[in-house]
Symmetry: C2
């Protein structure tokens, strides 16, 4: 398959993204290709610095780039030759089978929605991220694609994320929960109450009811459904708290046990690695008529390489076909 990679996105610069592509190549099949989309001169320069050519790597020149702070829809309109806009066009025309970007998330969502369109039956695409927690991985959807959710959107996030998790993990029947402000039925806002009704009515879903914020790390569910505003706040908060707590704790250790800091730092590093978002590569934009993996802006080469593997797995397990079939069945 041909996987397009946005070289201009990502806070760590093109060399990190390209390094990720090269790392992934070893694991790709002979006829797979990673198409680096971005400034050709920059890519050629970084590629030669990184050790030269690789026959699984191709380059597609994109003269423009959408900044992290730009308004997505405006930027796509004024920059049709930006790496993100070109990724979408190349996917649409069949020259690519999947897109990966660590750039402007809003622009990725808008480009995918506008150019690729939605899968049959899907009302709104949603970003599903797999969060590594102390109680195991939990998929959260949506983490920011859709801040105007209706019950049907959330219900479909439950179906799509279930199918995704079934496909890419060994969890047979993912436990789906709705993120709310109390576990008791009837609590929460109207969106949650109406979504719960839809979820309960679909026997395909292993819907276990409402959970609270703390259940992200309690092991209570495999899939946590929420609207994009809440999901994005949760995502950023989890990162921030983890970092803050580790920093605070290390300061205390350094003051009280300076003689043990080498071993302590080693253990902390192991902890950080275990809960590193890069282990999960990227977050698929579920529901678009194609494969689009959104990476964290701060993705390392490991994160990019894992996103490339994830695109492969998403395709191999026919996640999109399962979504179309399941949503069609649920409607009948």
């Amino acid at each position: 398959m041909r996987i397009g990679l946005d070289v201009m996105g990502g806070d760590r610069g093109p060399e990190e993204v390209i390094a990720g592509a090269l790392e992934a190549c070893a694991l790709l099949e002979a006829d797979d290709r990673v198409v680096l989309v971005g400034d050709q001169a920059v890519i050629e320069d970084k590629l030669s610095q990184a050790g030269g050519e690789n026959r699984k790597i191709e380059i597609h020149h994109a003269p423009d780039v959408i900044g992290m702070a730009e308004s997505p829809v405006d930027a796509l309109r004024t920059k049709p030759k930006s790496s993100i806009a070109l990724l979408a066009s190349l996917h649409k025309s069949g020259e690519l089978n999947a897109c990966i970007s660590a750039g402007n998330t809003g622009a990725c969502v808008a480009a995918a929605q506008m150019r690729l369109g939605r899968l049959a039956g899907v009302h709104r695409p949603g970003i599903a991220i797999v969060a590594p927690t102390t109680a195991g991985p939990v998929a959260i959807c949506d983490v920011g694609a859709n801040v105007n959710c209706r019950p049907l959107h959330l219900y479909q996030y439950g179906v799509m994320t279930s199918l995704y998790i079934k496909a890419v993990t060994d969890i047979e029947t993912p436990r789906v929960a709705l993120l709310s402000v109390g576990e008791e039925e009837g609590k929460g806002n109207e969106l949650v109450r109406k979504t719960a009704e839809l979820m309960k009515a679909d026997s395909f879903l292993n819907f276990i009811g409402n959970v609270e914020g703390r259940d992200l790390v309690s092991g209570a569910c495999d899939v946590m459904v929420c609207e994009g505003f809440v999901g994005n706040v949760v995502l950023k908060l989890v990162e921030g708290i983890g970092e803050g707590l580790m920093r605070g704790l290390m300061k205390k250790f350094a003051a009280a046990m300076p003689d043990q800091m080498e071993r302590i730092m080693q253990i902390a590093a192991g902890m950080r690695e275990q809960y590193d978002f890069n282990m999960y590569g990227g977050a698929p934009l579920l529901g678009v008529a194609g494969i689009w993996i959104i990476c964290h802006g701060a993705s390392s080469s490991v994160g990019i390489a894992n996103a490339i593997r994830e695109a492969k797995a998403f395709s191999a397990h026919k996640v999109n076909q399962h979504i179309i079939e399941q949503l069609s069945e649920s409607r009948d």
Copy 2:
């Protein structure tokens, strides 16, 4: 002043709440009273176990109790003699000047709203909690009173929480931020965008713009405003992640450095204490025509004692009067 304390609320049982009342007594003024509201026999029994009478303690019998999982409005209607319903009535009639409960939060909010009413100019009360973070304390409002927020409600949360923080801390001009999904203006949902306009238009507010989830621990703001659904998710999540991370880390330490576990556990305990919600006592329900402090269900006696001191401070600093005056000025 006369402070009513719900003895029947709280996961740790009446003895813990009563222990908190007794701890607080030493710090109260001679004519202050803590009125224990709950089952008289239980209170008398626990009081005598705890060392007998205290002339600053009174008892008001409440034959009924509202459970944690009960529907607030239904429970208040069917249980007018429950401790929470009686607290509200006694406050309304002037027999109490403040109420404290670690019981059913929804019932507290409903009882306060229905019996005490709102301060002049206030549209919706909101719960403001002070979260201890590695970057210092941050007040979050609302954390669960109002899951159907309009821009005006959020704007008023900003004003009320600013005044509260000014009164009870040494922060002169609290930096107020709106919790959103991106720092850039224009990002977020409609509620956030419209609230930002209102906040910018009021020169009283030191409005610094939008922040993201991670900014809860970045030190970027002193007051974080959000609607109750999001705030409650955030609150529960913070608790859960902190606990989960510490547990995971301690497991690693125990495996790798068993010889150092005594010192490590000591430092971890210090960390837990520093970020213990009990240090902040409780969360005021801002905007009601009275003083109502909502405590965490798992509050220890220290948490209860701090909530009693907080009620005193809230009264001494005339927070409600400031709210009425400021909202009246903002309207002019």
